[in-house]
C-alpha cells in the first residue's frame, strides 16, 4: 500500500543522489542490463485531504524479484526537470506523494532500480494531475471526534439545563459573601467600594469584573446601600454606569441610581491607586470589591482595606496577584471562579450548561495528559514496542 514521504525524505533523496552519481562517475558499475520498467502508472488526487497529496499506483516490473526498488520522480507544470521524490523498496506499487503545490499540475515518473543500480525506462503519467482540497481533511478525524465531544458536551448540558435538569455548581464563597459584605456596609452606614481593575474594556477580566458589579449593584440597591465605583479607564466608567443602571432597575429601585457614583479618576496606575487609597482612608468603606485585572496595586489596595476593617472580596486571573489577595482579603475568586461568576450568579440554563460542558472538556484534557504521561513512562520503563506504538498513535495521530 501507500507510504508517506514524511520522515524518510532526506535519506531517500541521498540514496537517489548516490545512485545518480554512481551512474555518472562509475560507468563500469552501470555495465549490464537495465531492469524491465514498471507500467500502468496512474496518479489521482488523494481524497479527503487539504489539497497537497496525490496517490500514485503502478504495475510492478517483470524483474520485480531482483529489483532494489522503484524511483519516483515528479515535476510540476511550471518546472522543466523531474526531481526524485522517493525510492521505495521492491514489492511496493503505490505511493502517496505529499507537500504538493495545489496551484500547479504534477507529472510523475516511476523507474525500476536494478540490483546493479541501473534504472529502467520510466512509466510516466501523460496528463498533469492537480491536487484538490476537500471540505474535510481525513487525517483530522480524531480532531473532529475531540471537537464533537467537547462541543457536544456543552450543547448537551445546555439542552439538559433548558429542559429543567438541575445543574449544581459548587459553592463559591466569594460570590456567596456579596450579600454579607453589602449587608455589613448597610448596618455600619458606610459605602461599598468597587474597583474594576486597571485595564480597559479589551481585557476579559474587566468584563468579568463588570458582571460581578451587576450583582453587587443589585444587592446595594435592594439594601439601600451606597456604592462607589472609581475607574481608571473612561470606557470602563461608561460600561460600569450602564451596568449599575440596569442593576438598579432590576432591583426595582431605578430612582436610587446615581451616575456620579461611577467616575473616572486617571489612567495612571499609581495616580489611580493613590486616589483610591485616600478615598478608603477618608470614607472607610465597609465593603471593598476588587474585580478585574490587577498588578502592583493589588496588595496596596487590599492592605488598606484590611486596615480599615472592611470585608474585602477580590477576583482576578492574574496568578502573581492571587497570593496577595488571598492573604489580605476575606474572600478571593481564583481564575476560573472569576469567569464562572456570571453563570453562577445568573443561574441561567444556557450559561450553566456551557460551564458544565467546559468542565467536561477540562476533564477530558486532564485525562488525556494523565494517560499520555503514564503511557510514555510505561513505554520508557518497559521498552514495550506495543505501548510505544500506542503512545505514538495517541500523540501522532489522535492529537495531531
Amino acid at each position: 500500500m501507500s507510504s508517506s514521504l514524511k520522515g524518510k525524505g532526506s535519506a531517500k533523496r541521498s540514496i537517489a543522489a548516490a545512485v545518480a552519481c554512481a551512474a555518472l562517475f562509475f560507468p563500469a558499475l552501470a555495465a549490464g542490463q537495465a531492469p524491465a520498467p514498471p507500467s500502468g502508472l496512474t496518479a489521482r488526487d488523494h481524497s479527503w485531504d487539504n489539497g497537497t497529496r496525490i496517490d500514485l499506483q503502478w504495475t510492478a516490473s517483470a524483474d520485480e524479484a531482483t529489483l532494489r526498488g522503484y524511483v519516483v520522480r515528479r515535476r510540476s507544470t511550471v518546472e522543466t526537470n523531474f526531481s526524485v521524490v522517493d525510492i521505495v523498496p521492491a514489492g511496493t506499487n503505490a505511493l502517496t506523494v505529499g507537500s504538493l503545490n495545489r496551484e500547479a499540475g504534477h507529472l510523475f515518473r516511476v523507474t525500476a532500480l536494478g540490483a546493479n543500480s541501473l534504472e529502467s525506462t520510466p512509466a510516466a503519467t501523460t496528463a498533469p494531475v492537480f491536487p484538490t482540497m476537500e471540505w474535510f481533511d481525513g487525517t483530522r478525524v480524531w480532531f473532529l471526534f475531540t471537537l464533537v465531544l467537547l462541543c457536544g458536551s456543552v450543547v448537551a448540558f445546555i439542552v439538559l439545563a433548558r429542559r429543567g435538569m438541575p445543574l449544581t455548581l459548587r459553592r463559591i464563597a466569594g460570590l456567596e459573601a456579596v450579600d454579607d459584605a453589602v449587608g455589613r456596609a448597610t448596618e455600619m452606614g458606610r459605602p461599598c467600594l468597587f474597583i474594576p481593575g486597571i485595564n480597559d474594556m479589551n481585557e476579559i477580566q474587566t468584563i468579568a469584573g463588570l458582571t460581578i458589579l451587576s450583582r453587587v449593584a443589585k444587592t446595594a440597591a435592594e439594601y439601600d446601600a451606597k456604592l462607589e465605583v472609581p475607574t481608571s479607564k473612561s470606557l470602563v466608567m461608561t460600561a460600569a454606569r450602564e451596568t449599575m443602571q440596569t442593576a438598579f432597575l432590576t432591583a426595582g429601585r431605578p430612582e436610587a441610581y446615581n451616575p456620579d457614583s461611577v467616575y473616572y479618576v486617571t489612567d495612571e496606575q499609581f495616580g489611580y491607586v493613590a486616589y483610591v487609597q485616600g478615598l478608603m482612608v477618608r470614607e472607610k468603606p465597609a465593603a471593598c470589591f476588587y474585580m478585574g485585572s490587577f498588578f502592583a496595586e493589588s496588595l496596596i489596595l487590599a492592605e488598606t482595606g484590611n486596615a480599615i476593617g472592611a470585608i474585602q472580596i477580590a477576583g482576578t486571573a492574574q496568578p502573581a496577584q492571587l497570593p496577595f489577595f488571598v492573604a489580605a482579603c476575606d474572600y478571593t475568586l481564583i481564575g476560573e471562579e472569576f469567569f464562572a461568576a456570571s453563570a453562577y450568579l445568573s443561574g441561567e440554563p444556557d450559561q450553566l450548561g456551557s460551564l458544565k460542558g467546559q468542565d467536561v472538556g477540562k476533564l477530558l484534557v486532564g485525562a488525556g495528559i494523565l494517560l499520555g504521561v503514564l503511557g510514555a513512562t510505561a513505554a520508557a520503563l518497559t521498552g514495550s514496542a506495543f505501548i510505544e506504538s500506542l503512545v505514538n498513535f495517541f500523540t501522532g495521530t489522535m492529537l495531531t
Binding site: G174, D180, G183, T186, M188, G189, A310, V326, C329
Partner: protein, 611 residues
C-alpha cells in the same frame, strides 16, 4: 415577688405551668437530702370565658397536688399559703405561662440576615413566637410592609438595626413604617402596644421622635453593638418585663397570679430554654431539646454556651400535620413504615388528625403511622433549627495563604451532631409513646446524632417549671432535673460516614461491672445492648477507615456511657442516614431496624396480614 429567706431555708416549692389547655402543678420537696418532685396535679386552664381567670385553673391544679401530698397548699380564700410550715404551705411559688397563644412578637432589623436575625434570636430566646421579620432587604415595598404590620396583632414589637455609630437612616425608616401602621394589640382596647428599641444608640432619639403616641417605647442597649458580637441580654430582659407589665396584666386573671408568684412569670418556651442553658452550663455539655406539639415544634440547642431556639410554626402532629406532608412529601413519611398503606387511607388519617387533634392512636397501625410522621416533623424542624443557629453574618474574616482553597463563609451552622452530648425529647408523641424504645428510635432517626449521645425524655414536661426555678434556686432545679424530670433512655453510638451494606463499619468492646462484650457492626446494622438506668459501661469503638466516632476518621474512641430504660443503641447505619423512598427497600430496612430494637413486638402478625 422575691423568695423569702436564704436558699437553705427553702424546703417546699410549688410550681405551675399554665398551658393553653392544661394547667400543671408540681410540688418539690427535699427527700433524703436532695430535692425531688414529689407530687403532681393538673386541671383545665381557665383563661378563656366563661371563667376568664387563670388563677381558677391554678388553684384547681394545686388543690389536686394538695390532696395527693396531704399537705394544705390553698387557704379558704383560695390563695396559695406562704410561707411553709410543717404541714401546710410552700416556701416558693413560681409559674410559667403559654396560655392564650403565648407571647407573640414582631421584630424588625436593617438587614434581615444580620440585625434582623439577631432580633429574632432575642425574641425566640425570650420565649416568644416571631410572627414576622421586617427588614430593609425583605423585598417588600414600603406599602406592603405597612400592610403586613397592620395585619399582625403582636404583643410586643422589637426594633433593632445598625451597629452603634452605624446607619441611622435605615432605622428611622423602619420606625416610620411602624408608626403610621399603628398595629393593634391582641388584648384590650386600653392596651398600649409596647415597642422595644434595641438598635444603633445614635438613632435612639430619632426613633423616639417618630414613635410617640399610642406606643410604649422602651430603649435598651443595642443587641448588635458591633457586627462581630451580639448583646441579646438587655433586649430579652426588656421582653420579659414587658411581657409581665403589659401582656400578662391584660390577660384574664394574670394580675392576680403575678402577685402570688415569687419569681417573674416566664413564657413557657423561655423557661425551657433557661433550664437547658443552666444544665449545659453546669455540666459543660452541648444539649438539644425538642418539644413537639400539635401545631408547632420548638427546638432548643446549646452548643459551646450559645443558646438558640426555633419555633417551626408549621410542623406539628395535629393542626399542622398536613403541613408536614406538604413539606416532606408522602414518600418520605411512608419510608419509615414497615408496611404499606393505601394512599386514600393515609389521607383520611391525616385529615382526621387535623379535625380531631386530641385523638390518640387506637391501633398499632395508627401508632406506627403517627410515629413516622413525627420522625419527618422532627427532622424538618431540626433542619430549620440548623439553618437558624449559625455564626454571625457580616463578620470580617482573617485569612492566610493556606486558606486559598478553603474559604469558609460566615453564617455557618453551629449545630454539630458530633459534639452533641444530650438530646432531650418532650411533647405528646415522644413522651407518651407506649415503649421507650420508640421514643429513642424517633429521636435517633430524626436528629441523626453522631458519636456518643445521651438520649432522654422529659417525663411530664417539667422543664418549664424547672426553668423558672433555676432563676431562684438553681441547685433544686438541677437536682430535680436529673432525678425526676429526665427519664434517661440510654445512649446512641453512631459513627459518621458512609459505606456499603454488609461491610464492616466499626468494632466495639463494652465493659461493665460484671460482663464484657465485644463484636463487629456491619454497615446498615442496628443493635441494642442492654444497659440499665443506673449502669455505666466503658465502651471502646474502633471505626473502620472513613468512619468517625468523634476521634477522627478510623480513630479509636473510648468513653464512659450511661445506660437508660432502653439501653445502648449501636447504630452502624452511617451518617447522614439514608433511607430510600423506594417502598420495597425501605420496608425491608425499617422492619429489620424495628426488629433489632424491638420497637413493635406486636407487629409481626400485622405484617403477615399486610403481606
Amino acid at each position: 415577688m422575691t423568695p423569702t429567706g436564704s436558699l437553705a431555708n427553702i424546703r417546699v416549692i410549688l410550681a405551675t405551668d399554665c398551658g393553653s389547655t392544661t394547667t400543671k402543678a408540681i410540688l418539690i420537696q427535699p427527700v433524703d437530702g436532695v430535692y425531688r418532685q414529689t407530687h403532681r396535679g393538673e386541671a383545665p386552664t381557665t383563661v378563656e370565658a366563661p371563667f376568664a381567670d387563670v388563677t381558677l385553673g391554678v388553684i384547681n391544679a394545686v388543690t389536686e397536688v394538695q390532696e395527693l401530698a396531704g399537705r394544705r397548699l390553698v387557704n379558704s380564700e383560695g390563695r396559695i399559703i406562704q410561707p411553709a410550715t410543717a404541714n401546710e404551705g410552700c416556701d416558693i411559688y413560681i409559674s410559667t405561662s403559654s396560655a392564650g397563644g403565648g407571647l407573640q412578637m414582631m421584630v424588625a432589623g436593617v438587614v434581615r440576615e444580620m440585625t434582623g436575625e439577631s432580633a429574632k434570636r432575642a425574641a425566640l430566646g425570650a420565649g416568644a413566637i416571631v410572627m414576622d421579620v421586617i427588614a430593609s432587604n425583605d423585598r417588600r415595598r414600603p406599602h406592603e410592609q405597612i400592610q403586613r404590620i397592620r395585619e399582625l396583632r403582636p404583643d410586643i414589637i422589637l426594633i433593632s438595626g445598625g451597629v452603634d455609630g452605624g446607619t441611622t437612616t435605615h432605622v428611622v425608616q423602619i420606625a416610620e413604617l411602624i408608626a403610621p401602621a399603628k398595629p393593634r394589640p391582641r388584648f384590650g382596647s386600653e392596651y398600649t402596644l409596647p415597642i422595644i428599641y434595641a438598635g444603633n444608640r445614635d438613632a435612639a432619639p430619632l426613633v423616639q421622635n417618630v414613635i410617640k403616641e399610642g406606643f410604649a417605647l422602651t430603649v435598651v442597649d443595642n443587641l448588635r453593638p458591633v457586627l462581630e458580637r451580639e448583646n441579646l441580654g438587655p433586649a430579652r430582659d426588656a421582653i420579659h418585663n414587658l411581657f409581665l407589665e403589659h401582656v400578662m396584666k391584660h390577660a384574664p386573671g394574670y394580675d392576680k397570679l403575678m402577685e402570688w408568684v415569687d419569681a417573674p412569670i416566664m413564657p413557657t418556651p423561655g423557661a425551657v430554654g433557661n433550664i437547658l442553658q443552666t444544665i449545659a452550663g453546669r455540666q459543660g455539655v452541648n444539649v438539644v431539646g425538642v418539644d413537639i406539639g400539635g401545631a408547632t415544634t420548638d427546638v432548643f440547642s446549646v452548643f459551646d454556651g450559645t443558646f438558640n431556639r426555633t419555633v417551626s410554626a408549621n410542623l406539628g402532629m395535629s393542626y399542622s400535620i398536613a403541613n408536614v406532608f406538604a413539606e416532606t412529601g408522602m414518600a418520605n413519611v411512608l419510608r419509615w413504615m414497615p408496611f404499606d398503606m393505601d394512599e386514600r387511607q393515609l389521607r383520611n388519617r391525616v385529615k382526621n388528625k387535623m379535625i380531631r387533634p386530641t385523638t390518640i392512636p387506637q391501633t398499632l397501625e395508627a401508632l406506627v403511622f403517627e410515629q413516622a410522621v413525627a420522625r419527618e416533623a422532627l427532622r424538618l424542624a431540626y433542619v430549620q433549627h440548623k439553618e437558624f443557629a449559625t455564626t454571625l453574618k457580616g463578620v470580617q474574616q482573617q485569612r492566610t495563604v493556606g486558606d486559598t482553597f478553603s474559604q469558609a463563609t460566615s453564617g455557618q451552622t453551629i449545630v454539630d451532631n458530633m459534639k452533641l452530648d444530650l438530646l432531650v425529647a418532650s411533647g405528646g408523641v415522644l413522651s407518651h409513646a407506649p415503649r421507650m424504645h420508640q421514643t429513642a428510635m424517633m429521636l435517633v432517626d430524626a436528629f441523626e446524632p453522631e458519636g456518643f449521645t445521651r438520649l432522654a425524655k422529659d417525663s411530664i414536661f417539667m422543664m418549664p417549671h424547672l426553668g423558672v426555678l433555676a432563676q431562684v434556686h438553681p441547685q433544686a432545679s438541677l437536682e430535680v432535673f436529673d432525678r425526676d424530670c429526665l427519664i434517661h433512655l440510654g445512649a446512641c453510638i453512631a459513627p459518621r460516614g458512609a459505606g456499603k451494606a454488609g461491610r464492616p463499619c466499626f468494632r466495639f468492646s463494652i465493659r461493665t461491672g460484671d460482663r464484657e462484650e465485644s463484636g463487629e457492626m456491619l454497615y446498615g446494622d442496628l443493635r441494642l445492648v442492654p444497659l440499665g438506668e443506673r449502669e455505666t459501661a466503658i465502651v471502646i469503638i474502633d471505626p473502620e477507615r472513613g468512619f468517625d466516632c468523634g476521634g477522627g476518621p478510623g480513630k479509636r474512641v473510648e468513653r464512659e456511657v450511661r445506660g437508660g430504660t432502653v439501653g445502648m443503641i449501636l447504630d452502624a447505619r452511617g451518617r447522614p442516614l439514608v433511607v430510600p423512598t423506594a417502598r420495597a427497600a425501605s420496608r425491608e430496612m425499617v422492619e429489620r431496624w424495628g426488629a433489632a430494637l424491638g420497637l413493635y413486638p406486636e407487629l409481626a402478625p400485622l405484617l403477615t396480614r399486610h403481606s
